[in-house]
């Protein structure tokens, strides 16, 4: 299966922006939808997505696959996910390299895993089973984390690379999450970027975070910070054109501010592309 070509610059679809999107049909190349928000029987969410889907490509981004959980895979959830994908035909489906609960509980958080060979085998097996069930490759996103486990046997980036290669899945590289985790755990983000296989990455996320002094927290309630823009520039040079998304989940600014961030992402990506072309000439 060929790596999907870049969709361009996208935004996370959030209800607060429905009027801006429906009234103005803004120059956004694509939208990312939170899958679970549309796993409802019917009503306005579904109707809005149907309307927006007629004008824009979408990708589906989930928060509850719990791919690293030791609880059994939830095939009711996966069935609903498959049904949603059949209906709305996303370019791809993504979720996070994390777990969200065990013993029937959903903690509604993207929880960290120890980077062990046991966890690696477990995650790889589950991604392959999910991909078999959905009949398509999925994209797995690196999460921000606040702790490291004494049990870990390898770096996060080694774990992520091994997951992608062995499970034969795509990667969604969240630039903010690399930055937040690099601060929290004291690693060089460049080492992370270097380790990620280029031919696996189908999407970037850009988002803001909150400062807690001794650590940073991935809150998606702030503009993308300068350090993340800088890292995004390096990533664009390294990976070339990849679908990029501005992700905002709280403290929603006027739509124009998100469009301005999207324009900045376009400019950064275009500058990197030009520099790469000049270097190759």
């Amino acid at each position: 299966m060929a790596q999907p070509s870049s969709l361009g610059m996208g935004l996370g679809l959030r209800p607060v922006y429905y009027p801006d999107i429906l009234d103005k049909t803004p120059s956004v190349d694509w939208f990312e939808v939170i899958s679970e928000n549309f796993m409802v029987p019917g009503g306005r969410p579904i109707a809005m997505l149907e309307r927006i889907r007629t004008s824009y490509p979408i990708v589906m981004h989930g928060v509850s696959m719990s791919i690293a959980s030791t609880a059994p895979l939830d095939f009711t959830y996966l069935g609903a996910l498959k049904g949603l994908a059949d209906r709305f035909q996303p370019e791809w489906i993504s979720d996070h390299l994390c777990w969200t609960g065990v013993h029937g509980v959903n903690l509604h958080d993207l929880l960290p895993i120890p980077y062990t060979s046991e966890a690696l085998d477990h995650v790889v097996d589950r991604i392959m089973r999910v991909q078999d069930f959905l009949g398509r490759r999925i994209a797995i996103e690196n999460v921000s984390s606040y702790i490291t486990f004494a049990e870990s046997e390898m770096d996060e980036w080694t774990f992520v690379r091994e997951v992608a290669e062995r499970a034969d899945c795509w990667l969604l590289l969240d630039v903010n999450n690399v930055f937040v985790s690099s601060f929290n755990h004291g690693f060089d983000p460049a080492r992370y970027i270097e380790a990620i296989p280029k031919d696996r990455v189908v999407q970037f996320h850009l988002a803001g975070h909150s400062e807690a002094g001794t650590h940073k927290i991935d809150t998606h309630d702030q503009p993308v910070c300068e350090e993340v823009w800088s890292l995004y520039s390096e990533i664009c040079h390294h990976f070339g054109p990849v679908s990029t998304l501005i992700e905002r989940d709280a403290n929603f600014p006027p739509f124009g501010e998100l469009m301005a961030e999207l324009d900045r992402a376009r400019t950064v990506a275009a500058a990197a592309r030009l520099a790469n072309q000049e270097a190759a000439a």
Partner: protein, 268 residues
């Protein structure tokens, strides 16, 4: 430690303040492991409280920040989420309030929670077409007695203490809510054009609607209403049906064959 055990301890650390997971967590260069683990502990409670605040905004207005915060805390501690979709997390909140001594006597708050839950349920109930009133135009008088109706999946009738709808409306307009009454009121909830709607329904309309939702024929509904009131209620029953069409409650209608009962035909 095996992954399953680690996840069990991690979850116990978040839900029950169990400290045993900290043996597997490292301090960072800047702070200690307990501070870092608290990010997950706090985020769990903040996130679930946010779900509840989003689903019960008028209950929050009625109780005030502090009391609503206590309610959310009690609910979160007793009720883990068991659904992939946060949409359903608050579904049990009204039932929880009924079960807990500190909340079960606050009937106004419980009814307001039930009211807001009904609006949420109407908001994303399954889709169905809405039948236009004009579709009845060609129905002959001989067919009216045999009319049956399928309702939009969002249609629900619920009983509350009197004044609950007014309390909700006042809070939504940021006005002082009136006191609840001792009598009962029945509220009809449904969705039209994507918006959850509600209105009080009179006793005889509720009776007619409940019968119609059980696919009773128009003539049978008229007979039941007449039995209740002792009057000829055909015109009133027909008025209910026309109102249901106007509200967008009816998804489909059909003519069920059977013994004819004489009713007068309304103007459509």
């Amino acid at each position: 430690m095996r992954l399953a055990e680690l996840q069990m301890k991690f979850q116990a650390g978040i839900r029950n303040s169990d400290q045993s997971i900290l043996a597997s967590v490292r301090d960072s260069q800047r702070t200690d492991r307990a501070t870092l683990f608290a990010v997950y502990y706090d985020a769990y409670r903040l996130r679930l409280a946010e779900f509840l605040a989003n689903d019960f905004p008028m209950l929050r207005n009625l109780l005030g920040e502090e009391a609503f915060g206590r309610l959310a805390e009690d609910y979160i501690e007793s009720t883990p989420s068991r659904q992939p979709n946060a949409r359903w997390y608050g579904t049990r909140l009204p039932d929880f309030m009924l079960e807990i001594p500190s909340w079960c006597t606050n009937r106004s708050a419980i009814d307001l929670a039930r009211f807001e839950r009904a609006l949420s349920d109407a908001f994303d109930a399954a889709d169905a077409p809405i039948a236009a009133m004009e579709s009845l135009q060609d129905t002959g008088s001989e067919d009216w007695p045999h009319l049956t109706f399928d309702f939009h999946p969002s249609v629900t009738l619920l009983d509350f203490r009197g004044g609950t709808a007014e309390i909700y409306a006042a809070l939504a307009e940021e006005k002082e809510p009136p006191a609840a009454q001792e009598d009962r009121e029945t509220i009809l909830f449904w969705r039209n054009d994507g918006q959850p709607l509600y209105r009080p329904a009179a006793e005889d309309e509720c009776l007619a609607l409940r019968e119609a939702m059980h696919r009773k024929k128009f003539a049978e509904i008229c007979v039941l209403l007449a039995f209740q009131s002792g009057e000829d209620v055909t015109a009133r029953a027909a008025g209910f049906i026309l109102q249901w069409f106007a509200d967008g409650l009816i998804a489909r209608w059909s003519i069920e064959p059977g013994t004819s009962l004489l009713v007068s035909v309304p103007e459509v």
